[in-house]
């Protein structure tokens, strides 16, 4: 029971693998994949109150990990629904695509439960390698090998970040003689004055910075977002970030706030992420690249929540990243629905969307206003909580810089909304979306609004989640 979600995913992967061996009806298999996704989601819900330790103390099942598993499974389900058609992936590899998707999610679920350095490493690699392949699985459009370039970039940057992480882990082991996270961190806390300890912690964090796309481990983002198929990008942009935040909080909550150097480095990373992401996003014309840069900026905000080293700060970060994933998925839902063959979406392709498909236009507008941090949506509440938490710790300059970033960001979000609502649909036809898409967009919009207007229950939940690991 404690291992139920992981087993379900593993089983789902195996079933898909068996199906891929024979000649299967592709359409039936897609529906089947969604059913498997729903079952996984159900399994995570079923095991939400499980507690225990598995595999010789390297695998912790607690409220914290289970909640993140629910979030991950939910986000995966939405990705499966919005990427139902897999428009730009070769028909012949569709089963394998689903296989890798499930394997990657399996890795992420194991990641949020891992409390031992090697387990963390294995889980992280399991999730990453599956995604490296998914990126390269896109159709070869115009023989430019665009998707291969993206896949290789993702792989090389990923391996580099993992290299940093492994190096940091070796330091940790060298300094403390253990690979258990709790032992390592409690012993390291006596050594904050030593450069080796600081280097070790920062290098281990680098692996998660890469997943979350925080400066200076963000360089892969724009090209991979652009080169991967829309459905793959939707996955990369949402699900792994949840797991990365989970692990970041797990590790940082064990570092106590005395490590002033660590706080300073994290602050610099947060602020640089915000400025880099927002300023670069201003000049983008490709919607996925734009969302990629905006994701870098949002990761900076999440980090600002985490680096308060407070319970409330961690809770705010969880609230923020959950909201971010919902907003982001809503954007990708629209991106995946409006293309006919899964090609990349330029901002100009959205022109007149409010006439071509009012519901999708509204979804996009709500999601983008929310990302921009306009009330009453979840984006505003998240930013407000994080800024309040940061100012409580006395980071006034940080708060002012972060607030300035909100002002910069609004311009590019608004320029997308402008095209959606204020221009005519020149030559673009109507978009007929099916019931699945409609339901998904309404549900996502409702979540964005409800989380923004009644944040208290969500915050309470996030707080009690974090309390489970403190």
């Amino acid at each position: 029971m404690q291992f139920l979600p992981e087993l379900t995913l593993l089983g789902a992967g195996l079933v898909i693998f068996l199906l891929s061996l024979g000649k299967t009806d592709i359409d039936k298999m897609k529906t089947f994949a969604i059913i498997l996704g729903t079952i996984t989601f159900g399994a995570t819900l079923l095991s939400w109150d499980q507690e225990g330790t598995l595999f010789f103390g390297s695998y912790q099942v607690d409220l914290y990990s289970q909640v993140f598993k629910i979030l991950i499974a939910g986000a995966m389900l939405v990705v499966l629904i919005l990427g139902r058609q897999l428009k730009d992936i070769k028909k012949s590899v569709h089963p394998e695509y689903y296989l890798f998707l499930f394997i990657s999610v399996l890795g992420l679920m194991m990641l949020v439960s891992s409390i031992e350095l090697l387990a963390i490493f294995v889980a992280l690699e399991l999730s990453s390698f599956a995604v490296y392949i998914m990126v390269a699985m896109r159709n070869d459009s115009g023989s430019s090998r665009f998707q291969m370039e993206a896949g290789i970039k993702y792989l090389l940057f990923g391996v580099t970040a993992t290299g940093f992480m492994l190096f940091g882990m070796s330091y940790m082991f060298g300094l403390t003689g253990s690979t258990q996270l709790s032992v390592v961190m409690s012993k390291l806390s006596y050594m904050y004055a030593q450069p080796a300890a600081i280097v070790a912690i920062l290098m281990v964090l680098a692996g998660f910075f890469y997943k979350l796309a925080i400066f200076p481990f963000h360089f892969w983002v724009p090209d991979v977002y652009e080169g991967a198929a829309n459905e793959t990008t939707a996955f990369i942009a949402s699900v792994p970030k949840l797991a990365a935040v989970a692990l970041l909080i797990r590790i940082i909550s064990m570092v106590n706030g005395e490590g002033q150097v660590i706080v300073n480095v994290l602050m610099a990373c947060a602020i640089l992420s915000m400025f880099y992401g927002n300023l670069s996003a201003l000049i983008q014309t490709d919607l996925k690249r734009l969302l990629g840069f905006s994701g870098i900026a949002h990761a900076g905000f999440v980090l600002l929540g985490i680096l308060t080293f407070q319970l409330s700060g961690y809770a705010n970060a969880i609230y923020y990243i959950s909201g971010y994933v919902v907003m982001n998925l809503a954007c990708f839902l629209v991106i995946c629905s409006i293309t006919s063959h899964g090609e990349n979406v330029q901002i100009n392709d959205l022109s007149g969307l409010h006439k071509r498909s009012p519901l999708l236009a509204l979804t996009l507008a709500v999601a983008l206003f929310a990302l921009a941090g306009i009330p009453p949506f979840v984006g505003f509440m998240g930013k407000f909580m994080i800024l309040t938490g940061a100012l409580k710790q006395g980071f006034l300059i940080m708060v002012i810089l972060a607030a300035l970033n909100t002002a910069i960001a609004i311009f590019y979000y608004l320029s997308v909304i402008r095209v959606t609502y204020c221009s005519d649909p020149n030559n673009h036809g109507r978009i007929n979306s099916n019931l699945f898409t409609k339901t998904a967009s309404i549900v996502l919009m409702l979540i964005i609004i409800i989380m923004g207007v009644i944040p208290q229950p969500f915050l309470n939940f996030a707080t009690s989640t974090v309390q489970a690991i403190m």
């Binding site: 409330s312 409010h354 206003f369 306009i374 009330p375 009453p376 505003f380 407000f384 909580m385 800024l387 309040t388 100012l391 409580k392 006034l396 708060v399 002012i400 607030a403 300035l404 909100t406 002002a407 609004i410 311009f411 608004l414 320029s415 402008r418 609502y421 204020c422 221009s423 944040p455 208290q456 915050l459 309470n460 707080t463």
Partner: protein
């Protein structure tokens, strides 16, 4: 909490006013019928207007406390409350908002032809947000509504606006949002300093250090001066006014601009009294600059909407002038002038909209000489134009007179500097009036124009009624605000403290 007064006779009246329009949007989401949308929205806004009348009837003019208060906990972990109430400063603005909305719906009856239900949804959300801004007593609630309102207004301009709507709507949004970003930081700072409370009365009249007050005032000033808009920050206004549909222009002129001046009265004066005293001279001279600049620019306009938009800059200059002379005549005149400007300028935008519906041009040239064929129309227009430059007997005369009286009391130089503004107002308004009513020998053929129909007359009559009511018998309006303003200024002068001494040291 002793600043609050819970009125047991009308337990949820203010919440009803806020949420009724919002609830009204639900039905419009599902029924996609133009005619139904029009009648339904008219019904909802009319009911809201009628429901707001008991508020002003039962308003207690003998206390400066907040009345009809409702208080609920909203976000416990940050101590954010849903708390609303009205006092003498906000009640008139609430009334202005509720009464003007049905007329905006009527004004869009035939003008808006595409996507009518969506338009009406935007109007209703605007009404909820605007009422909430004036009633909010929790600063986060205030900020949320203040920002949230940008979305429907952006869509009103961006979808149903004129040819340069994209430029105008983006400029409007960016200016206002960029201005209020530092307000957010100020809010969080105040929350920390005041023992983790977002309750607005808790923040007032505290002894913040002068440095803190200076930064707070600058944050407030940037947000509110852009919204007013004061002279160097006004450039978004003409663009937005010109491109917005008639109803949008009316809402913008009548209600949205007032939020800036309301913000000064509600936040800047009570929270940062010393900094206000320090910055007072600069704000006053910026107001004068706005009055003169608005007047001269309006004089040169060929586009009627632009002319009225620039006249707004001038009129709002008078309002900020009245607020920052910081005496009873000035502030009361300023509040009255906020209402007057809402009535008169709103009516003028409606008049321009009516001509535009006929000729499809806002150019003064194409509207010359319509007096002969549209006698009813020019009668209304004349009254509103006279009101706009403060002709005795109309509402603006009372307001401007009080403001100038207050200014004279404060400084004769300042008052003399403001006088040319009043003359300029007469000049540009009479110029416009002369051209529209008579024109010259080269008038275009206007004989095909239809005079106002019953609907249009019904729209304009309430405006005319208030023009003369406030013009001839302003006392009931002043009574509503008197205690609150007196209280505000008394507290203010008690807290000016050292800053006054410092200023006097500099200026004498």
């Amino acid at each position: 909490m002793d600043q609050l007064l819970i009125n047991p006779d009308y337990p949820h009246i203010l919440s009803t006013l806020i949420f009724l329009p919002l609830a009204g949007t639900l039905l419009l989401l599902f029924i996609n019928n133009d005619a139904f949308a029009r009648y339904w929205t008219l019904g909802i806004t009319t009911v809201t207007a009628i429901l707001s009348i008991p508020v002003v009837m039962a308003f207690d003019t003998t206390t400066a406390n907040f009345q009809f208060v409702e208080q609920y906990s909203w976000i416990q972990s940050l101590n954010i409350q849903y708390v609303i109430g009205v006092d003498g400063i906000s009640i008139l603005l609430v009334m202005l908002t509720t009464l003007i909305m049905p007329l905006c719906v009527l004004a869009s009856w035939n003008y808006i032809k595409t996507r009518v239900p969506a338009f009406m949804i935007c109007l209703l959300i605007m009404e909820s947000a605007m009422l909430g801004v004036f009633m909010a007593l929790d600063i986060v609630l205030f900020y949320i509504l203040w920002e949230a309102m940008l979305i429907p207004m952006y869509l009103l301009i961006g979808i149903w606006g004129g040819p340069r709507k994209i430029y105008a709507s983006i400029k409007f949004f960016l200016y206002t949002l960029a201005g209020s970003i530092m307000l957010l930081v100020a809010i969080i700072w105040l929350y920390q300093t005041n023992n983790y409370s977002f309750f607005i009365p808790d923040m007032m009249w505290q002894d913040y250090s002068l440095t803190a007050q200076t930064y707070l005032f600058l944050a407030f000033f940037l947000a509110f001066a852009i919204k007013v808009p004061m002279f160097p920050f006004h450039t978004w206004l003409p663009a937005a006014h010109v491109e917005a549909p008639t109803a949008g222009s009316v809402i913008l002129a009548s209600v949205l601009l007032k939020m800036g001046t309301y913000g000064f009265l509600r936040f800047a004066l009570p929270i940062t009294p010393e900094a206000t005293t320090l910055f007072m001279p600069y704000v006053l001279w910026l107001s004068i600059a706005g009055i003169i600049y608005g007047g001269f620019t309006a004089l040169a306009q060929q586009d009627m909407k632009k002319l009225i938009a620039y006249s707004s800059v001038g009129h709002m200059g008078f309002v900020t002038l009245g607020i920052f002379v910081l005496n009873i005549q000035g502030v009361e005149g300023a509040i009255l002038q906020m209402i007057n400007h809402g009535i008169t300028t709103g009516a003028l935008f409606l008049c321009v909209g009516m001509i535009y519906e006929r000729t499809h041009s806002r150019e003064l040239r194409s509207a010359t000489g319509v007096g002969k064929y549209m006698p009813i129309y020019v009668t209304f227009l004349t009254f509103f134009a006279l009101s706009s430059f403060g002709f005795p007997g109309t509402n603006s005369f009372v307001g401007e007179f009080m403001i100038l009286a207050g200014t004279f009391k404060h400084s004769i130089v300042l008052a003399l500097a403001a006088i040319p503004g009043a003359v300029l107002a007469a000049a540009y308004m009479l110029r416009m009036l002369q051209k529209i009513v008579w024109g010259g020998t080269d008038n275009p053929d206007q004989s095909w124009l239809q005079d106002l129909n019953v609907r249009e007359i019904i729209i304009l009559c309430p405006f005319l009624f208030f023009v003369f009511w406030i013009g001839l018998g302003p006392q009931p309006f002043i009574d509503l605000m008197h205690i609150s303003v007196t209280n505000l200024l008394a507290q203010f002068h008690a807290h000016q403290g050292q800053a006054v001494a410092a200023v006097e040291l500099i200026f004498h």
